[in-house]
């Protein structure tokens, strides 16, 4: 038996326009998330006040990375998981899971923009070229600040989406945040005790966030070795890996091979960038 059937929206135009509408919807849901709102308020507050105590110690205001990156990761994780109970319905919608995941990844633009604002606010107190940033060129100082204050605000939320897609444990994002926070702070100790050790440097750079200089006071600034530029590449590659890992979930045979291939490429780039971040740039620690 054959029949002419009409179903669904008359103006159906496929995944692309639905993606835009879906991303806008997820953005609206995300910006009212209380965890994100808390993170935004705290980040802007810490960026618009002089954080001398911490900046004169590690040469950066780490709070935007902590709040927008860490708390942002928790917020996107919850956003991603929010439809999990509705999966029996959502899972048979014509919009496939990778498109929904991509729409969720778009929300990371909010903390990213906030991170940019925080960077500019912070520069009012310690502009590029300040002695506190150590013995780096001015462009390199800019790269360091972008890597420390902007990229984590993108990477954290993207990691939250990836973890939300793959991990069922409700507290996974909080645990991951604590692990990363703990690792970053632990990895700073070996370079403090063995400033010229390559192993200590590798440990410090094997992280989504790294400190580049240590200032006990305004006069004596220790600049650690490595290349901040390649470290920026490593961070961006980690962001790409987070997105691709998230997109793999629910990918059918039409796009799975492409996503998997892109993931291998991103992993290879990340590995190369990490190696270059260790071997390029300053070759030894400088105290000034």
């Amino acid at each position: 038996m054959t029949a002419t059937l009409t179903a669904g929206p008359a103006d159906r135009v496929g995944h692309r326009s639905t993606f835009v509408a879906l991303a806008a919807r997820e953005l609206r849901r995300f910006v009212v998330n209380p965890v994100l709102l808390f993170a935004v308020v705290m980040s802007l507050w810490t960026a618009s006040t002089d954080q001398a105590e911490v900046v004169l110690n590690v040469a950066v205001n780490p709070y935007p990375a902590i709040f927008l990156g860490g708390f942002g990761m928790v917020a996107t994780y919850w956003l991603t998981r929010s439809m999990r109970n509705s999966e029996p319905v959502v899972g048979v919608a014509p919009i496939p899971e990778p498109v929904r995941t991509a729409a969720l990844c778009v929300v990371a633009i909010v903390p990213l923009l906030c991170g940019c604002v925080c960077l500019f606010l912070s520069l009012r107190f310690y502009p590029i070229g300040s002695p506190v940033y150590g013995d780096f060129s001015r462009p390199t100082q800019a790269a360091i600040l972008v890597g420390q204050m902007v990229i984590p605000t993108l990477g954290g939320p993207l990691l939250g989406v990836a973890v939300g897609r793959w991990v069922r444990f409700p507290g996974a994002a909080v645990v991951l945040f604590l692990v990363i926070f703990g690792w970053v702070n632990l990895a700073i100790w070996p370079p403090l005790t063995r400033p010229d050790s390559a192993a200590a440097s590798a440990l410090r750079l094997f992280s989504p966030f790294a400190y580049w200089s240590f200032a006990d006071n305004r006069v004596d600034v220790t600049t650690w070795h490595g290349s901040p530029w390649f470290f920026l590449g490593w961070q961006l590659a980690l962001c790409a890996i987070a997105v691709l890992v998230a997109l793999l979930r629910g990918a059918d045979s039409r796009i799975r091979p492409q996503v998997a291939r892109a993931l291998w490429v991103a992993a290879a780039v990340a590995g190369i960038m990490l190696v270059l971040a260790n071997v390029a740039g300053a070759t030894h620690t400088v105290s000034a």
């Binding site: 002419t4 009409t6 929206p9 879906l22 929010s82 509705s86 319905v89 899972g91 048979v92």
Partner: protein
């Protein structure tokens, strides 16, 4: 979107296993527009069959075609999903969503990108399930029956040619059940509506055809009236449970309704219901056994 397509669902040699457990085996079915009731005890494979039809689950063996498309082929599966309404047995709702917000979100996932037409469609389906006055209420603040109707509303989006409903009337009050029957009967004029339920009265009221599943296999597939006819002469009232009855229970009048495979003489026969027929089938009534005669 308009397409000239086959309006039927067909299953050929379909089986589905979960590890060592075979939930479905050798299922052959052809479904045409109308309401098809799916009956069976718990664990019979009803939900598995519905999930196969809804493309939520691939078959372990055999072929499932919906509207001419094969569910195993990703591109064809998307075409099926564009024309599918599915109400699962259990639907969880995200925190903080209103009825309108949830159905609107699902409408977006069903490619209603244009807000004006989408919102109009969402209001239409919420009105259809009797929730027009509760569109702004948070789902968490709703009763179980109201939540069930929210879940049903999303399945009705776009008046899909294939509607798969897993126990749609669970928790719904009698008035709303009657309303929903009217809605489904209207949709079934052009759509295939497959309805799984434990409420035999819903099947009797709505369906022309019933499929009875038992331990993953089709036990009966045919007209509801034919199944009921098989029970004619095998249902009788008595003052006490009849030992020859397969099933008996005390009714509201204080008398016992007995249902037995072997017909009985000298007893007060009554008109069988679909439930009687179903119980007889479950109790071992052979498929080929003719009816025992008209009820007295």
């Amino acid at each position: 979107m308009t397409a000239s397509i086959s309006s039927s669902i067909s299953l050929r040699g379909v089986g589905r296993a979960f590890g060592a457990t075979r939930a479905l085996a050798d299922v052959d079915l052809d479904l045409e527009p109308g309401v098809i009731g799916l009956l069976g005890p718990n664990g019979a494979g009803k939900t598995t069959l519905l999930r196969l039809l809804a493309t939520a689950l691939p078959p372990s063996e055999g072929e499932v075609r919906v509207l001419g498309w094969v569910v195993d082929v990703p591109a064809e599966r998307t075409e099926i999903r564009r024309r599918l309404g599915y109400l699962p047995q259990e639907v969880g709702f995200p925190r903080g969503f209103t009825a309108f917000g949830f159905v609107d979100y699902i409408a977006l996932l069903k490619e209603w990108a244009e807000p004006t037409s989408r919102h109009a469609e969402v209001r239409r389906v919420l009105d259809q399930v009797g929730l027009a006055d509760l569109t702004t209420r948070r789902i968490r603040a709703m009763s179980g029956g109201q939540r069930r109707r929210v879940a049903l509303a999303q399945a009705l989006l776009g008046s899909p040619p294939v509607l798969i409903l897993d126990e749609p009337t669970t928790g719904v009050d009698p008035e709303q059940r009657v309303t929903l029957r009217t809605v489904l009967a209207e949709i079934a004029r052009t759509s295939v509506v497959v309805l799984s339920t434990h409420q035999t009265e819903d099947v009797a009221a709505l369906c022309e055809r019933v499929v009875v599943l038992d331990r993953g296999r089709i036990r009966y597939d045919g007209a509801v009236t034919e199944l009921v006819d098989r029970a004619a002469g095998r249902v009788w009232l008595a003052d006490r449970p009849d030992p020859q009855a397969t099933v008996s229970w005390r009714t509201g009048t204080g008398r016992y309704r007995n249902v037995g495979i072997q017909s009985r003489d000298g007893v007060e026969h009554v008109e069988p219901s679909l439930e009687d027929a179903y119980l007889l089938l479950r109790g071992g009534l052979p498929d080929s056994l003719p009816s025992a005669g008209a009820a007295s």
